[in-house]
Amino acid sequence: MKFLHEFRDPALAITLLDQIKHTARRTWVLMEVCGGQTHSLLRHGIDVELQGIVELIHGPGCPVCVTETSAIDLAQRLALRPGIQLMSFGDMLRVPGSCGSLLTARAAGANVMTVYSPLDAVRYAQSHPDQQIVFFAVGFETTAPATALAVLQARNLGLQNFSVLVSHVRVQPAMEALMQEPHHRVQGFLAAGHVCTITGFDVYKDFAKRFRVPIVVTGFEPVDLLQGILACVTQLESGRSEVQNCYGRSVEQFGNPAALRVVEAVYEIADRTWRGLGVIPAGGYRLREGFAEFDAHQRFDLSRPQPADHADDSLRCRAGDILTGRLTPCDCPEFGNACTPDSPLGAPMVSSEGACAAYFRYHRRSVL
């Protein structure tokens, strides 16, 4: 398959690995921002191959991991109301809220359905005028444009039965928050390739300068990741801190202008609570006033999250430490004991992008 085999080529991967080993004169600490990158690194054993040369710490870029508990609770409450059909991405369904996940809510009678795209939810709303369709919109800059487009489509179609529960987050403010932590260890970033496909890489220029940290836009296949790591290590060894694009087949300097236009039209930037990290200034999107009729909060007169909704966060799950790279999943006392993908204590153990799930899947030296 084009763009797949060549980026999984073992010979090329080994060459890059050797180049990294020759370039690095000390151990560098890099953070891969996106959970998809974390999974790929562990799946292909790159972290093990680079032991002692590059320490990879895993960033906050797992969209379901950072979705706040109260948002999941709200989605559950909505899905239990008669006449409402809640829709979301498959990954979101297993993430625990205060009392179970959307999957457990479905077993208890809630109307929860998986869609691949919010546009499918609009299509469904069109063909089911007797139901209220609520799309639970989670994810980073990658998924925010599709939700925005769905809202615009719903407006153009004059749909009265489609609304969104927006929980979209923005990755750069979270990276800034990390760099402002007094004891952070990040020396270089592998920026999230898919987020940058939307935003472009120009937006990181000031960031790299301000924090004197190299930012290398990186893809998801083994060769992509190794190229990103090599570029980052090369910069660090020569004392540079620049923005560099190593995912050229997808990312352009100014991103995807069409996507950015719909985002700008539909959302405004807002502070957002990130699960495990707290409130991140400018860390999310909310619908603009002009789209209030498509806001599920308004349509269903939803109360804002109750303080009790936060009670379970961080009690036993140390998602905040995991998402900021302060703790490696294997070092969490609950990892593999009380917390497994079958009975997760927190979101990072659930998703296909969660760091704990990646360690459980690829690093657990399980006994037969």
Binding site: I14, H44, P63, F89, Y116, S117, L119, Y362, S366
Partner: protein, 353 residues
């Protein structure tokens, strides 16, 4: 019939069931039930013509050992590229018998129908049941029909139970798997799961992938005729995919199953869909693809024999059995070091981005 009701103005309105859809009355044991069975079900199964409405079918076997299995089938949507619920219900049970080393002979057919199912849909499914049974040379010799209220089932559930005659040499089973044995798959993996997913309304994708749903009797026969006495275990890799089978075997025999990713056959379509959805083909369901463990000296012969079977041209040796290692199942991907391959945890859900 209308005349016969006209004499009594006080008589309740007669049941004039909508003949186009299944109603609860079709399951209440009265005339409509009998007509459903007599007019729509029995005629499709020629072998049952002379058996009528007896309570039990009678069969005769001569001194052979039997294998018996049962499986309930539900799939949403009922029709998908490469098959439907009817063919699936036959092949599913036939394949369970075949991989156990049996020649499938008889099936029972139990229908649980949701009120409101269009009769034409039921007929299409039953036609597929009949065609699949014919292709496998199995007789459908007993059956049952129930109708449940709307909402109590998802259109149609089918249970089939099967009886087959064991044919020597019967593969001894996973407990006999030894270190050094080789692992084979009979063809490209993950096609059924992706085909069903592509047929779901919620995915606005169109993939060319067809389900691999078929009988594996030819696969097992080819193996039996070529390397029969050297087979350890055969399994059809249905729900949970190849990974689920190997995890079950690992638990039974206590060894580690080591796969090499580059040797595992996957079509470009399935590969692309899995990449897009964030799934691993090793966890995606198959309905006509088998996993085989065999004495290593006969692995090549087994692969060659399988490749003669239509649909199995890509059969391949994909791994080997090793002493207990880091994980029950491991896989070598980009680098030489094996990585653990986790046991599937529930149905695979597509990722976000």
């Amino acid at each position: 019939m209308t005349d016969s009701f006209s004499w009594s103005p006080n008589c309740p309105i007669p049941v004039t069931a909508d003949t186009q859809r299944i109603s609860l009355a079709h399951g209440e044991g009265a005339r409509l039930s009998r007509r459903l069975i007599a007019e729509h079900i029995l005629p499709r199964f020629s072998t049952s013509k002379n058996r009528g409405f007896a309570d039990a079918a009678r069969v005769t076997t001569v001194g052979c050992r039997l294998a018996i299995c049962t499986d309930s089938h539900t799939v949403s949507p009922m029709f998908f590229p490469g098959g439907n619920l009817g063919s699936l219900a036959v092949f599913g049970t036939v394949n369970d018998l075949a991989v156990a080393g049996a020649c499938p002979r008889w099936l029972t057919l139990s229908l649980i129908i949701e009120e409101g199912l269009p009769l034409v849909v039921l007929e299409q499914i039953l036609d597929s049941v009949a065609a699949a049974a014919g292709a496998c040379h199995v007789e459908i010799i007993a059956g049952d029909t129930k109708v449940v209220p709307r909402g109590a089932a998802d259109g149609l559930f089918i249970n089939t139970s099967g009886v087959g005659e064991l044919v020597d040499p019967v593969p001894p089973g996973p407990h006999s798997i030894k270190v050094g044995d080789k692992l084979l798959v009979s063809g490209p993996i993950g096609q059924h799961g992706i085909a069903v997913m592509s047929a779901r309304d919620s995915f606005a994708f169109e993939w060319a992938t067809k389900s691999d749903s078929c009988s594996v009797i030819p696969h097992v026969t080819a193996l039996r005729n070529s390397v029969g006495g050297h087979l350890r275990a055969i399994r059809d890799a249905t729900r949970g995919g190849v990974s689920a089978v190997l995890h079950e075997w690992a638990q039974e025999c206590g060894h580690t199953f080591a796969l090499t990713e580059s040797q595992i056959p996957v079509t470009e379509d399935v590969r692309g869909a899995c990449e897009l959805l964030g799934l691993d083909p090793l966890y995606v369901a198959n309905e006509g693809t088998i996993v085989v463990a065999i004495d290593p000296r006969f692995a090549e012969a087994a692969a060659t024999a399988l490749r003669q079977v239509p649909g199995c041209e890509l059969a391949a040796i994909v791994g080997e059995v090793q002493p207990q290692g880091i994980s029950p199942v491991t896989i070598r991907r980009t680098f030489a070091a094996p990585q653990p391959l986790d046991e599937p945890s529930g149905a695979p859900l597509p990722r976000i981005c």
